[in-house]
């Protein structure tokens, strides 16, 4: 199973969900299958689940889709007990498990050996956590999670590799911030960015 095919299978399902994606190939692939101002590209490895938690807690009516990698999640495993404590019902945590540090040389990670990320998520208090082995199962689990209103963790076993020939990401980091912040302001009717020059 390829990560790109999984992502493509859910692109039309997720509507205006805010997608927070991990540094690495998952962001490149996601931005090609669902180009949107509602995408946030995370550059700190592992932090997407924590950023997703902050979004989910403060925008409770919005679906928050976290697109994580196994190497990244292993770097921020402590986010799982925090998620399992807060249990934001509008957050869907997808982890693509390819067993390697794909973006940093391809060396094996602990998820390729004896660590079971779904068991870890369950043990951390995440109420719904499953493995999926096929694109169709992934699509069905994400569709069900979008309807469920319960914190969900979906781990998809995929083969390593980034789909070739994709359009590179042109958006710069701060541009990404402004696009997402303005998108949230428009769609949620809230103010995110402080007014420029508040005294004038």
């Amino acid at each position: 199973m390829k990560r790109y095919d999984c992502l493509q299978s859910i692109a039309a399902l997720v509507g205006d969900a805010i997608a927070v994606s991990s540094a690495g190939g998952v962001t490149l692939e996601w931005s090609n299958v669902r180009p949107s101002d509602a995408n946030l590209r995370v550059r700190t490895l592992g932090l997407c689940s924590s950023i997703g938690l902050g979004l989910a807690m403060t925008l409770p009516r919005r679906k928050i889709l976290v697109l994580d990698g196994d190497g990244a999640l292993l770097l921020n495993l402590s986010s799982l007990p925090t998620l399992g404590w807060q249990r934001p019902p509008n957050l869907i945590h997808c982890v693509f498990v390819n067993g390697v540090y794909e973006a940093s040389g391809g060396g094996r990670n602990a998820a390729s050996a004896n660590a079971d990320l779904v068991a870890i998520a369950r043990g951390a208090g995440v109420p719904y956590a499953v493995w999926v082995e096929t694109v169709e199962a992934f699509r069905q689990e994400v569709a069900a999670a979008l309807d469920r209103d319960q914190l969900s963790f979906i781990a998809a076993r995929v083969e390593p590799g980034v789909r070739p020939g994709l359009k590179s990401i042109e958006t710069q980091a701060v541009e990404n911030k402004f696009l997402l912040a303005r998108h949230i302001e428009r769609t949620e009717g809230i103010q995110v960015l402080a007014p420029a020059y508040p005294q004038h």
Binding site: I18, V20, L40, V42, R43, T44, G46, L47, C48, S49, S50, I51, G52, L53, G54, L55, A56, M57, T58, L59, N76, S78, S79, P81, T82, W85, Q86, A173, V174, N176, K177, L180, A181, I184, E188, I190, Q191, V192, A194, P198
Partner: protein, 176 residues
């Protein structure tokens, strides 16, 4: 936290923690990520007991930078209440998320190892140099009357400058 609850009765009634709460309210900071420290316990108790604040306890401080970032996008003003050792843990996320993406957040950092604080002198030694290296502006209120203007001012400055700002909280200010 539970193990310190019996000691809470014996703690001094110094006004510091209440002043921090007042400053946060004045600046509209209502989303607080916490990783408790013994010296932060009274302040933490006040924040948790006050419905004005949403508090999230994390397991590791780097998570907190992410959660504050998410809360920023959700339209909230966010702060982290941590120890200075935890500031060191959070540096990677501060650099490649908070600073790189220009996300405002207030770092309220217990200054262990400060003068006349015999906890963690090594951590104390590196606290200000690390903040300087990160180019994060910081202040150290020494008198009770400085607490509210320093913290509320730093929070407003963080929003205006779209960067993290830090206030170091000493043992006397925390009333410990």
């Amino acid at each position: 936290m539970v193990s310190t609850s019996s000691a809470a009765v014996d703690r001094t009634s110094a006004a510091g923690p209440a002043l921090v709460v007042e400053a946060l309210k004045q600046a509209g900071v209502d989303f607080i990520v916490v990783l408790p420290d013994q010296k932060l316990a009274r302040l933490h108790d006040l924040l948790e007991a006050d419905p004005f604040f949403t508090t999230v306890t994390v397991c590791r401080e780097e998570e907190g930078v992410g959660i504050c970032t998410g809360a920023f996008y959700g339209g909230r003003r966010a702060a982290m209440l941590i120890q200075n050792g935890g500031l060191f843990v959070a540096t990677n996320a501060l650099v490649s998320t908070a600073i790189m993406y220009e996300i405002p957040m207030l770092l309220l950092v217990y200054y262990a190892g400060d003068l006349n604080d015999r906890f963690f002198p090594t951590v104390g030694q590196y606290t200000e140099p690390v903040l300087q290296a990160l180019n994060i502006r910081y202040w150290v209120p020494r008198e009770a009357h400085q607490v509210v203007p320093t913290i509320s001012g730093a929070a407003v400055l963080a929003a205006d400058a779209a960067r993290p700002m830090a206030v170091l909280l000493t043992k006397p200010i925390l009333g410990e």
